[in-house]
Symmetry: C2
Subunit: 347 residues, 2 copies
């Protein structure tokens, strides 16, 4: 096998998709997978075919690729700003059911200016910071204030609430969202959609009693960080980076042809830059762009030059962004090269 390569086991993908859909169904939540993990329209279509109500994208460029491939319902969870992006957003809204999120008034005003003369209003959800400390309004009262501003702006329709929640605090997140929703309802604003997310939260979706939909991305492939969190098993990891041993400078050192350009430098709190399935005791101690330096001092594994190994990456979403194409392995063993069509869409 020519390496480095990103190889995806479709049987595991299918199992993972079915598992998320079943969890969402059981909790009475719509499933809205985040496509950032795979960035491949055909996999998004598998997710919709399994029952997802639509998909989530983080960039307009990703959403454009997905809409072009026929994905019909897209939530763009990002503050969109600037003339170029707003013009593209307006065009995109003509090609799918589009909704976006927003956490501040300047963004809402820009969206309104772009959609004031649109044939239909743009659905805008208020992004809420329920503890993750990234984007989002800081309190339920602030959520209400922004919802009212969106409701009053021409070209926009208030669509509800969205959060990227901290992990393992579903109860507090849900209380936050319930309070914001109740404030909206008391003010006469319908709050049709309440969107939560995160693969690590799939362990207990029932805790999100207020939510109406759940966004998850990484579950489709899973990765080493999710194994470490107890959110999946090694056999649930659908995507591995195949690499070749290109050098054996010493008994305690092997060099692989997958560096940070293939595995990324993401550690996510883990020790080492990935798990070599053939030698779990080997430690990927450091990466340069095209080399992995593997410390063999903790293992008896002594691979020969030319040996090919499979690595479960720490963070598979960023790995998808690094490979122009993946090798899909169908359940019947057939291999298919598929472009990662929405890769590198930075805008």
């Amino acid at each position: 096998m020519d390496t480095p390569a990103l190889v995806v086991d479709l049987a595991v993908v299918e199992r993972n998709i079915a598992a998320f859909q079943a969890l969402a169904d059981a909790a009475g939540l719509a499933a809205r997978p985040h496509v950032k993990t795979h960035k491949i329209p055909a996999l998004a279509q598998m997710q919709v075919a399994a029952g997802a109500v639509g998909i989530t994208c983080q960039k307009i460029g990703e959403a454009e690729v997905m809409a072009e491939a026929g994905l019909a319902d897209i939530l763009l969870t990002y503050n969109i700003l600037g003339a170029e992006k707003l013009a593209r957003l307006r065009a995109l809204a003509g090609r799918c059911r589009l909704s976006v999120t927003c956490d501040n008034a300047p963004v809402a005003q820009g969206l309104s200016a772009a959609f004031a003369d649109a044939p239909a209003p743009l659905e805008v959800l208020v992004e809420c910071d329920t503890g993750a400390g990234r984007c989002g309004v800081q309190s339920p009262a602030a959520a209400l204030a922004l919802a009212q501003e969106i409701d009053a702006l021409p070209g926009l329709a208030f669509g509800g609430l969205m959060t990227y929640p901290p992990m393992a605090e579903a109860g507090a997140v849900d209380a936050w969202l319930a309070e914001a929703r109740d404030l909206c309802l008391a003010a006469g604003l319908a709050c049709p959609r309440i969107s939560t997310g995160g693969t690590p939260n799939l362990g207990d979706l029932s805790a999100f009693a207020t939510a109406t939909e759940h966004r998850a991305g990484t579950y489709v492939y899973n990765d080493r960080s999710l194994i470490a969190r107890g959110a999946c098993r090694a056999e649930d990891c659908a995507a591995v980076v195949m690499a070749t041993v290109v050098s054996r400078p010493s008994p305690a050192r092997a060099i692989l042809d997958a560096g940070s350009k293939a595995l990324s430098s993401d550690l996510l709190g883990l020790e080492g830059f990935g798990l070599i399935r053939e030698a779990p005791g080997a430690r990927i101690a450091s990466l340069s762009e095209e080399h992995a330096i593997v410390d063999l001092s903790g293992t008896d594994w002594q691979p020969q030059i030319g040996a090919v190994v499979s690595i479960i990456p720490n963070h598979v979403c960023v790995v998808s962004n690094l490979f122009p194409a993946v090798t899909l392995v169908h359940p019947d063993g057939r291999r298919e090269e598929v472009p990662v069509a929405a890769r590198g869409r930075l805008r």
Copy 2:
């Protein structure tokens, strides 16, 4: 400006190219820039026009792009293994003056099999581990042994020695190389080329008395890691990531639209994921794929939503690999979008 964008100041690039060439000339070394930093044929051509003897690539895919653009002399500093890659290497050798490196017998034997019936032998340099602890033979005696094996194999010509040296230890590196060279010469093997490298070593190239050429990559753009090493000043950094403030959740927090997909997660031992030129006291505390979380607690800077900032990345080579195109700013102020043609060439 539509963001995130990678913007390159060509006047600074020209100055950096001239500076490396002058240092190499003064030390009596051929300059062989590593194109991994920019991955753009037009910039490689500027380096050759300034006096470089040729270029360095790390992957066959990069070398193919550069040969296609007319770069005539390419050193591929990688152990090449496997049928697909060897076939491409053989084809590439017909399109430029090609040399490669090797640190072990199985790789040498594979190269020999691919070039045994070639019209001209492939020039192979022995890669030496002079202390950096990545690839390379472990002693001058091992360098001689591999040189003799290469010399004896059909289709190959022993071309000399190559090292990716540890930084700031030029004296020890040079002593290692001199010993290996003298062993080769004593055994009747000419050792025409001795190739060292690294931008941090540009401070004293004269220490490499044994070397005949120097490879450097990062100098062409420079980055925050090189500022921290004292190898350049902020004004020598030619490439910045432009980003927009998309959210201001709280007085101490700003969110930028450049995450790990734009800046990479490389820390290189630094604090924070890049330097915001407009606010050096602001700390890029963490990245997710599409967001930078900026901690403003150490600065009075309070940017408005929509403000655009310029970030000197920690490690610019990996940033080049993340952007489909760069915006080149010519000395006359003209802007030009140029594809990063050799980006993402993993094989």
